[in-house]
């Protein structure tokens, strides 16, 4: 199994989740994160004190999938999250050695 970690723009969350549902991926874990990258931040001004905010709000999705689902899932994420503008984010894939469903103790693909 593989763990997909996708960092996307927050307002794309609903689209991506729907895209994943459509291909049968039901489970996702979402974290609010801040991203530094090429996309430029903005400046805030408080009583004349300038404050450059170079991190941007992003959303991180973690999705455990079977090998078979991997490519399809990646495509679905790209399709939904792509705006063509800088800051669209990244997808990382790592290997998952084990997956367990706490409720039942099931492991492997069953546990997804």
């Amino acid at each position: 199994m593989k763990l997909i970690t996708a960092i996307i723009k927050p307002f794309k969350l609903d689209d991506v989740r729907e895209g994943l549902s459509d291909i049968g991926v039901a489970g996702v874990t979402v974290t609010e994160v801040k991203g530094f990258g090429r996309q430029r931040g903005h400046t805030e001004l408080y009583r004349g004190a300038e404050y450059v905010v170079d991190f941007l709000p992003k959303v991180k999705l973690e999705i455990a999938v079977s090998e078979e689902q991997l490519d399809q899932a990646i495509d679905a994420i790209i399709a939904a999250a792509n705006t063509g503008k800088i800051g669209d984010g990244k997808i990382f894939v790592t290997n998952l050695e084990k997956v367990i469903r706490i409720r039942t103790g099931e492991t492997g693909n069953e546990a997804l």
Binding site: E44, L45, Y46, R47, G48, A49, Y51, V52
Partner: protein
């Protein structure tokens, strides 16, 4: 009793017109009703008003410490004012200071009057001023001062700086006798607090990381809500300073409101021109500048004058803020001096101009008894400003040094500052959302 009421020529005429006011030493229920309300409004300015205004501006880890400082100051100064402060400020005494005749409000009974309101009410109304003045200073040393040092400082400062200056101006002292105009506390409240703030900022030194590290306000919604409360409460501050429910009070709140509006708009428009965008924080800061600046003038000028005063307040205080922070690099953390100190000075001087009855639509209601020109009133005002600045600066410096000795340093240590005062000084956290 505050001598500002005595100053006003028209009072006698009013007294004669109103049958129920025929005797000056009889309680006036209407005035009492209004000053009861005004007292609540001025307390409302400090808690929750000012404490929210300030607390929203610091970082999350210090939010409770600011609330606690404002709250503790409220309590300590209340007790001290009752015990000795009121007597030192309003006891007969001499030109410089009151006396101990009213210690623990001796002789102040339910029936005792001050003018035509209960003296207990007058003392209580003034107490709310004695509360907010040291509370204003909190903005200068926020996020780094020891709680014990802060408490000691505030208590001593109340008795050593605030009470005498109040006596000078309102308690029958030398400045009042000279005919200085200070309707609701430009000298007494804003200049003393502003100057003390500047001195405290210099003595304590900047917060670790200032000015390179960004320290953005952690909750501007709290600050803006507090600002709204300050505005509303200020009606009690300036309107209550008429000590009567009459046209003076009404005009005072009208000019207060206009100055606040102009101050806010001016600050926001400067930002708009200079930085491309007007900010909410800028607007409310300009509003506070407008309020602080009109304060000494509020009973003496008309709405046209207030328009100009508000405009000046926004402009001058904006530039003072930039100057202190960016040029002098002084960490007066919440900009107490440039807003309150500079505003107080500006208003105390401007009243000499806009009190004039000869400025057409910008006219006010005339100079103090025995003064007949803008220049003469101005020189009295300038003497007041200089005297209060110098006295406050010196006394505040000495008190801080003394407190530093007593508490082994005014600041928490570096690690504590890193961790934040909420945990370190109070063992609490503001938010567990």
């Amino acid at each position: 009793m505050s001598n500002k009421i005595i100053k006003k020529g028209g009072l006698l005429a009013v007294l004669l017109l109103l049958p129920s006011l025929a005797f000056a030493d009889e309680l006036n229920g209407a005035n009492t009703a209004w000053i009861l309300t005004a007292t609540a409004l001025v307390l409302f300015m400090t808690i929750p008003g000012l404490s929210m205004f300030y607390a929203g501006l610091v970082r999350s880890k210090n939010v409770l410490s600011v609330f606690m400082q404002c709250f503790a100051i409220t309590c300590v100064t209340s007790i001290l004012w009752f015990v000795a402060g009121y007597s030192l400020a309003f006891g007969e005494g001499n030109a410089w200071i009151g006396d101990f005749s009213k210690v623990m409000l001796a002789g102040v009974d339910r029936d005792t009057l001050s003018g035509d309101i209960p003296e207990s009410l007058f003392a209580m109304f003034q107490m709310t001023f004695a509360i907010i003045t040291p509370a204003l200073i909190v903005g200068a040393f926020a996020e780094r001062m020891k709680f014990s040092a802060m408490l000691l400082f505030s208590g001593i400062w109340l008795l050593v700086v605030y009470a005498p200056v109040t006596h000078w101006v309102w308690g029958g002292g030398w400045l009042g006798s000279m005919g200085v105009y200070d309707f609701a506390g430009g000298l007494v409240v804003h200049i003393t607090a502003g100057v003390a703030a500047l001195v405290a900022a210099l003595v304590l030194g900047p917060r670790k990381g200032f000015p390179t590290t960004a320290m953005p306000p952690h909750n501007l919604t709290m600050t803006i809500a507090g600002a709204g409360m300050l505005w509303v409460g200020w009606f009690g501050f300036n309107g209550g300073s008429a000590l009567a429910a009459n046209g003076d009070a009404a005009m005072a709140i009208l000019v207060t409101h206009i100055s606040a509006s102009m101050g806010a708009l001016t600050w926001a428009f400067i930002e708009w021109r200079k930085f491309g965008k007007p900010s909410a924080l800028g607007a409310v800061t300009g509003m506070v500048a407008g309020l602080g600046t009109i304060t000494p003038a509020s009973g003496f000028v008309g709405p046209g004058g207030a328009l100009i005063i508000g405009l000046l307040a926004g402009f001058v205080c904006f530039n003072a803020t930039q100057f202190i922070k960016q040029k002098l690099k002084i960490d007066d953390s919440l900009d107490v001096f440039p807003v309150h100190g500079v505003g107080g000075i500006l208003g105390t001087l401007a009243v000499a101009i806009f009190a004039s009855t000869e400025l057409g639509v910008f006219s006010g209601y005339g100079f103090a008894d025995g003064i007949s020109s803008i220049a003469d009133q101005f020189s009295v005002q300038a003497i007041g400003v200089v005297a209060v600045i110098v006295f406050t600066a010196v006394a505040t410096y000495v008190i801080l040094k003394l407190v530093a000795l007593l508490t082994g340093g005014l600041r928490v240590d570096e690690e504590a500052e890193q961790q934040g005062l909420d945990i370190v000084s109070h063992e609490e956290t503001g938010y567990n959302l």
